[in-house]
Amino acid sequence: MWKQFFISRKFIIFTGIFIGISAAVLQKLGNPANMGICVACMERDIAGALGLHRAAVVQYIRPEIIGFVFGSLIAALVFKEFKARSGSAPLIRFVLGFLAMIGALVFLGCPWRTLLRLAGGDGNALFGLAGLITGIWVGILFIKSGYNLGRNQRTYPLVGWIMPLIMMGLFLLLLFRPQLPSGAVFFSSQGPGSQNAPIFIALLVAMVIGFLAQRTRFCTVAAVRDVILIKDTYLFTGVISLLLAALVSNLILKQFHSGFQGQPIAHINQLWNFGGMVLAGLAFTLAGGCPGRQLFLSGEGDADAAVFVLGMIVGAGFAHNFAMASSAQGPGLWGPASVIIGLIICLIIGFSMSDLMKKKKEA
């Protein structure tokens, strides 16, 4: 019976509901508003804790990110799906992760937080969502034109264990909080970085999510891609379940405040709310999955997905050091320019790694 449940549509709905409720509850337990879970924001906080950027209000080693990788690792080991693999254009994936993070930080959220912001009543998220879908749609055009990053190869198990080991290292830094002369490890004393749910509850919830997502292949970007590309709604039902569950939970916990002005960790410049997520959506689609999915893949041995995650963390460092990330006041000084340059880079990657160029060469 369990086997049937694991492959049924009920299971993806269950997963979506679990993530939606968890996000609302983690917010109640201390995480920043409409940010019970946000893969981009939380990786950005980790980058800050390590000193890759010095934005003092967003520095914390988020146990949720660690839990996602551990949960997926455990599911992959239990169900014998752990498979060390790499070699599918890792450096391109690093660049895509870097650019995806910049886009996400111009909007202020990953696809998961886009849904959670909507579920919290933040109308600005509608523009982010529209941008995300537009970015995915452009990515699909490339996929239809033969875009691919080449196949990966099976490799030594150690390669697949690198990301879980990095996460273990981060977890030790979080537990023991060493203080070095440089100031690292940095932990915010105010702002979103100082707001956090209890470590072990956050870790445990995230591990359950990682476990469920590894089994269901939950992915917000592939959900939209599958609807457009092959008219399949399996993953999409999971995403809708997440949205509705978070909405209902927020209403019950009195965390729902509708409007555009004064939304938490958000700005009202709709052009760049939209533009930032076009860039993120395109980069995620070219890399094959949303940032959550990249974490789950890196937990089951996909070293290329791990490189994408590292690209996101480094990208977060750059986004804050080079005034690309937005704040509640609006886009950073270099935010709009970086989105445009990022889009150009994505288009070059899309064109040069598809059949569009090959055909020209042959002709």
Partner: protein, 74 residues
């Protein structure tokens, strides 16, 4: 098609789409579907076809030089 089909698992989404268009040209009854959950794959989309078309599908994959992971009977 429900009880009597197989799927080709690919490394990339575009390989799946390319094979679909090649098979469509030959008039085969095929369909792109998400990879069944009990199989694991790096690409989320696979090609479903009738078991009796297996030789034709294999020939399309070979002639089209499409790299694929495996073929599974469902």
């Amino acid at each position: 098609m429900k009880d009597n089909y197989s799927v080709v698992i690919f490394y990339s989404t575009s390989a799946a789409i390319r094979t679909e268009s090649l098979a469509k040209k030959q008039g085969l009854a095929i369909k792109l579907i998400p990879v069944p959950r009990h199989l694991s794959s790096d690409c989320g989309i696979c090609l479903q076809f009738n078991n009796e078309d297996k030789p034709k599908i294999e020939k399309i994959l070979q002639d089209g030089k499409v790299e694929y992971e495996n073929i599974y009977k469902i």
